[in-house]
Symmetry: C2
Subunit: 362 residues, 2 copies
């Protein structure tokens, strides 16, 4: 079996190899994608489905699309969202038609957020945050689910194709709001194809794979419509600062949200699980255990863009030349810069909101 390539690997690789096997994913092959972005180059993007067709579309300049949804359930995002946006940006810069939908119906049917409140949150924060993270609004088509009759109508048609047991097998559970939201999401994923059949790629965190499976099942059952099976691209979770595979708001001391007060974030970084040795003497002699260092993982995933710079940090830290305290100090400096830019970027983008290209519905 091919292995996930992660030249600066964390200790969580085995978990992802299990996911690939259990879900039947392809291992991500960076060679398929010209000018791969940071998270692709570093094995953070680690798997996908039907990636060859997207690679071909890029290389042969054929039509394809990239699509993602905003779930406006609160006014924070996390590092996972940042990675989704970075992957959208990659495909947007490599010829994809770009669609971003606001999943206001999902917010209503699964979280009880009113459509009005969801709209406000999307316009005030989420869309500006996506722009701050690199989305080109001039090249992006936006819509609200609640306004998209074609998506809703198709959701009803698709519902006939799925049984409750299949739904439970895919999602592990089922309740009416979740069922409606998920089937509607399948219609969203296919929406760009309703006008014109073309391949599409959906970059997601691996926990979103059930939606991809449901959508692919639907496509297979409406053969007569000749839709492309959507391709998908998975990134790893940004690990929790305490070494867990995923940050969780239920452990706030190990979780960083965007935006978050920087002095609090620095404190969390200082307390993060480290690969440094118990004494300076031991550290200088043996060097850091990088695989278990969550701050290095954070820098690799998010804070250091340049590969040579990352390599130098890796080598210095691994050899013991750089201490855990120095690494954390550096991470804090970089995090502060990033967070400042993000907050400023959101404010700036908020002013551009009038220029968004929304789908006009009759």
């Amino acid at each position: 079996m091919k292995k996930i390539i992660d030249p600066w690997g964390s200790g969580l690789l085995e978990d992802y190899e299990k996911i690939i096997k259990d879900f039947g994913l392809e291992i991500f092959d960076v060679k398929l994608f010209p000018e791969a972005n940071r998270i692709m180059r570093r094995g953070v993007v680690f798997a996908g489905r039907d990636l060859k067709i997207i690679s071909d579309a890029i290389k042969k300049k054929k039509k394809y699309y990239v699509l993602s949804g905003i779930m406006p359930s609160n006014e924070k995002i996390h590092f996972g969202t940042k990675m989704v946006v970075e992957n959208i940006k990659y495909f947007q810069e490599h010829g994809a038609e770009t669609y971003i939908l606001v999943a206001d119906l999902e917010a209503a049917s699964t979280r009880g957020v009113t459509l009005k409140e969801a709209r406000k949150r999307a316009l005030d924060f989420h869309i500006p945050a996506y722009v701050a993270l690199g989305l080109d609004i001039k090249k992006t088509t936006f819509y609200f689910q609640s306004e998209n009759k074609e998506v809703m109508n198709n959701a009803y048609e698709f519902a006939k194709k799925i049984t409750l047991n299949e739904f439970k097998a895919i999602y592990g559970s089922a309740d009416p709001g979740k069922i409606m939201a998920s089937i509607t999401q399948a219609a969203d994923v296919l929406y760009p194809q309703f006008k014109e059949r073309m391949p599409g790629i959906i970059p997601v965190g691996v926990d979103q794979d059930p939606h991809i499976r449901l959508t692919r099942d639907v496509v297979r059952r409406v053969k007569e419509r000749r839709l492309f099976l959507p391709s998908s691209l998975y990134h790893k979770y940004t690990p929790s600062l305490d070494g867990n595979i995923k940050m969780s708001k239920s452990r706030p001391e190990s979780c960083i949200e965007l935006p978050e007060d920087i002095s609090l974030v620095k404190k969390k970084i200082k307390n993060a699980l480290s690969g440094g040795r118990d004494t300076l003497e031991e550290h200088r002699k043996k060097g850091a255990i990088i695989e278990k260092d969550m701050v290095f993982e954070l820098m690799k995933q998010h804070l250091v863009e340049d590969d040579r710079e990352l390599n130098k940090i890796y080598n210095d830290y691994k050899s013991g030349k750089m201490t855990s305290g120095e690494l954390k100090e550096l991470a804090c400096i970089k995090m502060e810069k990033f967070m400042n830019n993000f907050v400023k970027g959101v404010e700036k983008a908020r002013k551009q909101i009038g220029r968004l290209k929304f789908v006009k519905f009759k």
Copy 2:
């Protein structure tokens, strides 16, 4: 306990008394409704929920609405639909705002009928059939579910309020298409109240009560919206000609559809379960057992408008003066007249379809 009033009762009364008890319905009280229609007067309309509020609205000329849905799954209706239309007509003539929706989303999500096909069937047959049966199109507001964003959007909000187990408890089963259709139907039932809070009545066959219960549960859970609980009105089934409680297409020899070839219908009537005695002599002496006579039940429910005429038939048949053959002959004559008028009425109404008042959606 109060009893269902049915002066010309069939043998199926006990079944309906069980339904009333099991579902927690009110027994229909004809005195609540001025100028009661034929099926109300005759105990065919036998139960309801919250009927007093509708009675008050009629008597005090307050705003209220009557609403019903067309399920365009094929190009036939049955006697149950006829009774629904007769009850709609009653409320329409007694001050109700009238709404008829085409449940094209339900046809798609539960039967796999495309929206396009559903629309065609509704316009070609179902709406004209409703007009032929007495609906006043000038006083009726129509819409297609698939065009009504407000209904769809509310369906998603309502979905959050219902669990899968509640759904199963109400419907006995659950699959994604049925869940979406039923929750959407709840939004339909409440749609007239989204603009202005007012009581509404939904005339249905008793097998449709789960939708009423679901809708009432939803209303109770969105208290802050201050919606009226929908009232409902139930008619008995037109019994199968073989004596079963309900006609079923799976027993075609005992089931009459609208429209249906009249020579076939006459044959079915001739073979129907009769209350006539084995010999003429016995019949003259003891008279018919009316409770088990399905042809008399058909005449009572549908074919004889005038109460005095029905009374005379009842007395003649019960006393043995009229034979079973004579009753069936009379039923055939009346059925032929009805079916001819229905077919002509549908054709005529088809030409008026351009004059329907559809909701204009932005």
